[in-house]
């Protein structure tokens, strides 16, 4: 692979990045080729010592998507970030899977529980109307307490979810700097 082929390949692979960032990245590698040639290496030698454009692009894209998710924690951004970090290496899927299952488990069950608590008065009323079980005023009373608890829990879940997602972002950053990508034959 010569200089133009390398740069072109890299350029196509990082198309999703904002134009100025893309430009900046290509500029770095152009500089690298230039200085390498001045030091007497051929373009092919330089390209092969740089490693595959594929791996470089993966690395750049993973960082980019994680930054995006950190700026705006939409579910789409988070899924993208997760996906691109997993893509860094084959084994990374298994490394990331555990923490992610735990995190989504907590978030999902927390929200489900608070939602169910909130609608307990409704359930008590349904019971009153349908008479599925003998109605007791006490049930209604308890259901209001549970509903109040549920409302508090929703507030708590808003914070918990935010906190957990920022933890996930931090973990992904750590993962990027730890998982290969950086290394020969890897």
């Amino acid at each position: 692979m010569n200089k133009d082929q390398f740069l072109q390949k890299l350029d196509t692979l990082i198309k999703v990045l904002p134009p100025d960032e893309r430009q900046d990245i290509l500029q770095d590698y152009k500089e690298y080729f230039l200085l390498g040639t001045e030091a007497g290496k051929t373009e092919e030698q330089i390209a092969s010592s740089l490693g595959s454009p594929n791996q470089i692009a993966k690395d750049l894209l993973a960082s980019y998507h994680v930054d995006q998710a950190a700026n705006k924690a939409t579910s789409r951004n988070i899924m993208r970030a997760l996906w691109s970090v997993i893509g860094l290496s084959f084994l990374n899927f298994f490394i990331i899977l555990g923490p992610v299952i735990v995190l989504f488990g907590i978030v999902f069950s927390g929200w489900l529980l608070s939602f169910v608590l909130c609608i307990t008065p409704l359930l008590a009323l349904i019971n009153l109307v349908s008479e599925l079980a003998p109605f007791q005023t006490f049930d209604l009373f308890i259901s209001f307490i549970l509903c109040g608890l549920g409302l508090f829990m929703i507030i708590a879940m808003v914070y918990t979810t935010r906190k957990l997602f920022s933890l996930l972002i931090r973990y992904l950053r750590f993962n990027i700097s730890f998982i290969k990508g950086g290394v020969k034959n890897a």
Binding site: Y29, Y32, L50, G51, Q55, I56, L60, S177, G182, A186
Partner: protein, 107 residues
């Protein structure tokens, strides 16, 4: 050396080299690859990441020949990071050395 290992170490190397003086990308890559076998292309993504994390800033400087080069300069945040990583590394390598030494005595 183990591949997973090296990437974390790369960050430490970059920080140490920049602590001596400001350097440009090519120089950094060459100095590291002289000592450790790395995929040279991966240093730039690392440099970008660390710049985003404010461990260093960049500036362009004219060179005698050719276009201006992008120099990297360590920030005070970067210095803190360097100290933390150095401490971790020292502790870790001492541990390994100790084990190697004890292993050697038994043979």
């Amino acid at each position: 050396m183990n591949i997973q290992f090296k990437k974390g170490i790369l960050e430490l190397c970059v920080l140490v080299l920049l602590n001596q003086k400001d350097r440009y990308g090519y120089e950094l890559v060459q100095m590291i690859s002289d000592q450790i076998q790395i995929s040279e292309g991966s240093v730039y993504p690392l440099l970008r990441r660390l710049t985003k994390e404010s461990y260093f800033t960049t500036y362009l400087k004219e060179s005698n020949e050719g276009p201006p080069r992008k120099y990297y300069q360590l920030t005070s945040l970067g210095k803190e990071r360097l100290e933390a990583l150095t401490a971790e590394w020292t502790q870790f390598s001492q541990g390994v050395n100790q084990i190697l030494k004890e292993g050697g005595n038994n043979e």
